[in-house]
């Protein structure tokens, strides 16, 4: 039986060192949490950073954990762009996690898809597209996944109302008619 993957705090420094050596000039921010590091980059550098993290022999971040998005429209301390696509990866070799935060702008909400690097990014990117409207260029099948296909709007954006715009009341109504008053019934 293989031994379980265990978190190793001493390897966090290796990750920081290598990423800064390679991407230092393009990093917008770096936040060292106790359990993982978060690197912030622009949208066009995100795929390169993720590919580097995965393909580097020493880092080997090959375990996909999550891909999500946050909308900073109403955030008190507005960051540079409105959206942030956050990818979380795990390295079974080093035993650490890493987060790559890519800032995506509101005027041109597009970013390269990492579905060819990690198969798990396929559905998570579809979900981000569905709920936030960010287009992932190069995605094999960018369609809505949680909302109906003909839905209009991106619900999780901060300017979208919680209760929606009336779609939830827009279905044909089947009125109840007691059996003895029903039309065209034999008895």
């Amino acid at each position: 039986m293989p031994s379980p993957i265990v978190f190793d705090a001493s390897r966090l420094a290796v990750v920081e060192e290598k990423v800064k050596a390679r991407f230092g000039d393009r990093l917008l921010a770096h936040i060292p949490h106790p359990y993982y590091h978060q690197f912030t980059v622009d949208a066009q550098d995100a795929k390169g950073l993720v590919a580097f993290l995965r393909d580097d022999a020493e880092l080997a971040f090959s375990y996909f954990i999550d891909l999500t998005c946050a909308d900073y429209l109403k955030f008190p301390d507005r960051p540079s762009e409105r959206f942030a696509v956050v990818t979380t990866l795990l390295s079974p070799k080093l035993g650490v996690k890493v987060q790559v935060k890519a800032m995506v702008s509101e005027q041109d909400p597009r970013i390269d898809s990492i579905a060819d690097l990690f198969a798990g990014a396929n559905w998570t990117e579809r979900e981000v597209f569905d709920l936030y409207g960010i287009e992932f260029t190069g995605h094999p099948n960018l369609q809505r996944i949680l909302m109906p296909d003909d839905y209009d709007g991106h619900p999780l954006r901060k300017d979208y109302p919680l209760r929606g715009r009336g779609e939830r009341g827009n279905f044909p109504v089947y009125h109840a008619v007691p059996m003895d008053k029903a039309p065209n019934r034999p008895d």
């Binding site: 090959s62 375990y63 987060q99 396929n122 559905w123």
Partner: protein, 403 residues
């Protein structure tokens, strides 16, 4: 991953387009599978989800941290306590709070009991789907006994909403240890019955061995976690990776199998149930009297009894519970990703805090949603009857899948 509509389908004379779900007994929840079937073999397969999309994440932005605990129950409704505890652990790690000892021990015990409930239902349903109807009746009897304990401790059978940020809502009642020990003994017997019934059963073996094999490379690429990963030789368990609650002191194994088929996933879940029983027995020995809430007046709720007697406690309770600009928890501005081991895999919560009482963004990393996309790959080339076996071994829970 392709789109069913975009493929040009040859007009072969014996290809049948089949649609399974979203209302179907073999679909565990509201899932839809569209297939092209030639004879008994599935040629192509496409999935559609989203039939239970509720808007948890949007709703989380309009509710406070303690209110979201109530919503988290409804995610993986087979094991609501794991969701409650998972969310609360993530918030507490973000705030930097370490709840007191008794609270952590009780949470660990309930976490493992909830894992027992989830796995027992999954295992019973897998066997039922393959025709052995009695197994779900046996496992549901055990689940009902667990429901009795959950009801005694938390007040409800299913949607428990038991934890609060900084602690738990109520202490365990008297007689808790005896009741739980009785359940563990009967659960041991039921596991024995399940092993005897299925491990050497020719029909069960033929229907699950070698069916739906997931390779370790797929596990890493798709991000599959939980029993599905451990059945494919990837030993990743958050309880061992970075132990939370009291898992660091407890002695347990992480069962791993190398075959990666439905039988391996079945065996992993049964072995994990045996491990959970061991964990609960160890946890009960560590249960000592003590407080159940972390005392920080600005961020954690005070003891409920003292709010009836003590003006200060009442004011702090009021200021944390009420909605509004100046009320609520007010964590520091920042982001945090915290995760725990749910029965289905790694349940993660990515929380963005803007310093107010409501989270700015709650992202739920749902194990079912990340595990499910590998399904078409397993089904293509397999027989139609394997759909049931493979899907049941995934334990896809629609509440978590669609949120």
């Amino acid at each position: 991953m392709y789109s069913y509509e975009q493929e040009v389908v040859e007009q072969a004379d014996n290809i049948v387009h089949m649609n399974v779900g979203p209302s179907h007994p073999a679909m565990h929840g509201t899932l839809r599978v569209k297939m092209q079937v030639k004879g008994e073999r599935v040629i192509k397969c496409d999935q559609e989800i989203g039939f239970l999309h509720t808007g948890f994440e949007k709703l989380g932005e309009n509710r406070s941290y303690n209110q979201f605990v109530t919503l988290s129950d409804r995610l993986n409704y087979f094991s609501p306590l794991n969701n409650n505890i998972g969310f609360t652990v993530a918030v507490e790690e973000m705030l930097g709070i370490e709840p007191p000892r008794r609270c952590q021990v009780i949470r660990t015990i309930l976490c493992e009991l909830s894992r027992l409930a989830d796995h027992s239902l999954c295992v019973g349903a897998l066997a039922m789907d393959l025709g052995a109807f009695s197994s779900i009746l046996w496992t549901f009897v055990e689940r009902e006994k667990l429901y009795d304990v959950f009801e005694a401790v938390t007040g409800t059978r299913l949607t428990t909403s038991y934890t609060r940020v900084g602690g738990i809502a109520f202490d365990v009642p008297e007689g808790f240890e005896q009741r739980v020990t009785a359940i563990l003994d009967s659960m041991d017997r039921t596991l024995g019955v399940l092993r005897d019934s299925f491990y050497k059963n020719r029909i069960f073996i033929d229907r699950t061995q070698g069916i739906g094999v997931i390779t370790p490379e797929d596990v890493l690429a798709y991000g599959i976690t939980g029993p599905m990963a451990r059945a494919s030789n990837v030993a990743y368990d958050m309880r061992k990776f970075r132990p939370y609650l009291i898992y660091r002191e407890l002695d347990f194994q992480v069962p791993t199998y190398a075959e990666g088929d439905c039988m391996a996933r079945f065996k992993v879940r049964i072995d994990e149930m045996a491990e959970s029983i061991k964990l609960v027995r160890q946890g009960l020995k560590l249960l000592e009297p003590g407080p159940i809430q972390y005392q920080d007046q600005k961020r954690t709720l005070p003891d409920k009894v003292s709010t009836y007697r003590d003006m200060e406690s009442l004011i702090h309770h009021f200021k944390i519970i009420m909605p509004g600009e100046e009320h609520g928890l007010h964590p520091a501005v920042g982001e945090y990703y915290g995760s725990t081991e749910a029965p289905n895999g790694e349940l993660g919560f990515f929380l963005v805090s803007d310093g107010s009482g409501n989270p700015y963004r709650v992202r739920i990393r749902p194990p079912s949603f990340i595990n499910y996309p590998v399904f078409p790959k397993l089904l293509e080339g397999a027989m139609l009857a394997d759909l049931v076996a493979i899907l049941a071994s995934f334990n896809v829970i629609a509440g978590e899948l669609d949120r």
